[in-house]
Assembly symmetry: C2
Homo-oligomer: 203 residues x 2
Amino acid sequence: MTELDITTEAQIIQAARKVFLVKGFEGARMQEIADEAGINKALLHYYFRSKEKLFQSIFQEAFQRFIPSLYDVMLSERTLPEKLDLIIDRYQELLFENPYLPQFILQEVNRNPECLKTMFQKFGVQPSTFISFLEKEMTKEGITHITPQHLLVNILSLNIFPFAAKPILSIILFNNNKDEYLEFMKERKEYIKLFIHNALFKS
Amino acid sequence: MTELDITTEAQIIQAARKVFLVKGFEGARMQEIADEAGINKALLHYYFRSKEKLFQSIFQEAFQRFIPSLYDVMLSERTLPEKLDLIIDRYQELLFENPYLPQFILQEVNRNPECLKTMFQKFGVQPSTFISFLEKEMTKEGITHITPQHLLVNILSLNIFPFAAKPILSIILFNNNKDEYLEFMKERKEYIKLFIHNALFKS
DNA sequence: GTCTATATGGCGATAGAC
DNA sequence: GTCTATCGCCATATAGAC
């Protein structure tokens, strides 16, 4: 475990992240990852035994990013409207920094659905806890026209889908003009907040 | 072009649809499609020259289904709330019949973004037309707190995302209980309508 | 049109020198 | 630890008999 080892492993991880996130497991090639890392294919198998193993470490790292934002916001001392706004802020920030994350995770969970349970167990995630907290807050606010499950799915949908569908929406809305789509996504945060706020509290 | 030809080609199409929709282009195997169709691998290449060609015909067929619902509803003589409800009804019906469509299209458009322009040209689709109509209706109703682009993306997100994210949501919400998730998706239609209605018209 | 057999290439993985 | 060379497999695609 010299300095050099660490550097090489880090280079591999970085390269693997870049390739896997864009191409997915099936689409990615070990050769491409090696090239991206500036090393040889054989070295990939030296550090990680197989493509699957290398992929798992990237997937786990990616998956972790989706979890923590929700919990600590929900547990904080704020009103529900404030919490929702904060969750949207955090999610949009995360997604802007990792725009390929949604499609990457969707694709690979479809390929291997069992991996999800493993992840949840590994990180001690209890989604039902989050639902319970949301439910309590909604009762407090007198919101009865929607269930916490549907509200959660609505929040996730409005935030995540436009990133997963970027190529489609970019064409549909702006004839593939990248700048206009970026501008659209940046302003979108406030529109999501307003949309959810109106749907919940204007009754 | 005898009876037998047509039957075989239809069998291939049906088998290819089944395999490609679930596995995607990279994940699908010609052998699996041949087995599913009850024929030999070589016959696939006899009818369609290559895997890519066979895939394209399946993708085109799948893509077509997403288009027409929106147009004729938007052009009909109804109020905006009625139109929105009808669009949601149509989309949910389409998605229940083809639950793999969202992830299939997302995955393959990411793999080959250029194919979208081809599709739009092929079918003479002008997304800007739809946005214009939506904008006109929104002005008529005095809706100014959201742009037609964001409203369209919200509608698509709320409808499509839960199908693309089925394995994830099924675990998060119901600990992988299929029946509960199905029930959730069936009741969801009305929650989407209510959510959008409140967000737009309760001001 | 449909089959069997085979060509062809690419990819993950390993052996072995340094 | 890092490289070159190569193995072994599997998937697409083709040749050719029937």
